[in-house]
């Protein structure tokens, strides 16, 4: 019967069952797959994965990319958010343009920056028109890992800053204006007001934005595939390679567990670093 006490459970049931079947259960499966081979418990998958010559490079590249990309994005998203809240005219237009990359897939972003960096691309064309070079040089060759890395950083910053921006703008809207006005009355400069008032009050949104972004940064895959092929190994790319090309699900699962582990570790660190005491919430 539809008694009021049962209604919420009935409404939640489909979503809960779905998440159990397609979220919790598969993660148990992937853990089992990573720790077994031919039905017996073993650490062999991890030995193969971690012992592979590409693993140190993939791990370093993934962590380094996140360490470079996320701080730039945070700063840029904060700058955009402050500019947008201070704008008097054209605010909606600017916000729309700033959020466009939110709808763009990482693969498309990789292809867009490929158009710029490829040998007959727009960067070389521009340098040629300016008379700096006579011959188009190769930017994304397999020897020039530094340039590929920089191109991936640019593409990631270009594509994924929007998601932080949206969260931060929404968060700034929740901060009461009175705090900022009070600080202004007491003679605080705009920079001081930003550092001492806005930023601390923005901590919950900053926390959400950072967790989301760092996890997505560990999942970097298509951008790298489009720009560097296999010259710049990353964890997600190696997972795909083991699953799809080498058809070794156990090792792919071990890679998945490694990505999962660093994601959870990063989430815990960010939650701890930006903890908001219950009584300080707005």
């Amino acid at each position: 019967m539809l008694t009021p006490a049962r209604i919420p459970y009935l409404l939640l049931l489909p979503a809960t069952l779905f998440l159990c079947a397609f979220f919790l259960y598969p993660f148990v499966l992937v853990a089992i797959e990573a720790f077994t081979r031919d039905g017996t418990f073993t650490a062999q998958n991890f030995q193969t994965a971690l012992g592979h010559w590409k693993f140190p490079a993939a791990m370093t590249n993934t962590l380094l990319l996140a360490a470079v990309v996320v701080p730039i994005q945070t700063a840029l998203a904060l700058l955009m958010a402050v500019l947008v809240t201070k704008m008097t005219s054209g605010r909606d237009m600017a916000l729309y343009v700033f959020t466009i990359p939110l709808g763009i897939s990482d693969l498309a972003a990789g292809i867009i920056w490929l158009a710029i960096f490829e040998q007959s691309g727009f960067l070389n064309s521009m340098l040629y028109h300016l008379g700096i070079i006579d011959q188009p040089g190769t930017w994304l060759g397999y020897q020039s890992k530094g340039v590929i890395f920089a191109a991936v950083v640019l593409a990631e910053v270009w594509r994924a800053t929007a998601i932080m921006l949206v969260i931060l703008v929404a968060g700034m809207g929740l901060i009461p204006k009175e705090y900022d006005e009070a600080a202004e009355v007491f003679g605080a400069s705009p920079w001081k007001r930003f550092i001492r008032v806005t930023l601390p009050l923005l901590r919950p949104s900053l926390q959400t934005a950072l967790i989301l972004r760092v996890i997505l940064a560990f999942e970097v895959f298509a951008v790298v595939a489009a720009l560097g092929g296999t010259s710049l190994p990353v964890l997600m790319g190696e997972t795909y390679h083991w699953q799809f090309a080498l058809q070794d699900r156990g090792v792919a699962a071990a890679f998945a567990i490694v990505i999962l582990a660093i994601s959870i570790a990063a989430t815990l660190v960010i939650m701890r670093a930006l903890r908001v005491p219950k009584e300080a919430r707005i």
Binding site: P8, L19, G103
Partner: protein, 279 residues
Amino acid sequence: MTTTTLTDALPAHRKRGRFAMRAAVVALLLWVLVPLWLLAVNTFSSPDAVNGFPKSLVPEFDLGSLSFFAGFQGVSRALLNSAIVALLTMIMSIGLGAPAGYALSRFDFRGKESFRLLVLMTRAFPLPLLALPLAVMFIRVGLDDSLFGLALVHTTLALPFAVLITFSLFSGIPMELEEAAWTLGCTRIGAFHKVVWPLIRPGIAASAVFAFVISWNEVFAASVLTIQNRTLTAFLLQSLDVSPMPLKFAGGFVLVVPALIFIFLVRKYLFAMWGIANR
């Protein structure tokens, strides 16, 4: 008029500040728009121009690259597959998510916090990795290389958003409206249908569009789970090494366009959605 007098009255450093602000906004707008423009230039130029050097910064308005892309083996099928998976994802994530969002906004009950935790937990997990174990599971149940199977994985990505967004939308509609309808003789379902539904419809449409975009853009799970029935992203990724440049750029452009339109349609809701997703 008032703005000019106001600006005149501002001290010199404030004026400089305004100028710096405007310059920064223009620079950031160009930062977002110029790469998109360059992709469009490549898309609307002939394949010869795309492979040529040096490139011009204005397109030739030649449809050669696009028709080459459209005629390429497997492309039309991949486009159709992408659309089907995205539509299935949209229907499933709203169908499952909206009732949950309604329950969270209207009722207090035991287990509410556990459910919210389950939804929030999805955020700390790299969800595309789910494709690995599900690939095995799908072979067992005969869903391997099927569009429905991929849509199930994409729904896992989109469902948490659907729950949080619809929760915030329902919370924005006062409970009193529904209660008033009950006192006037409406049943629970009748009140929902006559009072809540008309108010919530545009918001539901926006979150449905959001689910569509999540699925349309997803690369990893699509590439792992589809072999014959590839979506556009899987098709483009798997042919990156072998496909000619004009195909990549036209493909990238086709991938971007629906996303641009969708973000434009839901722009009003983006911030409302994320405001609540903070908590």
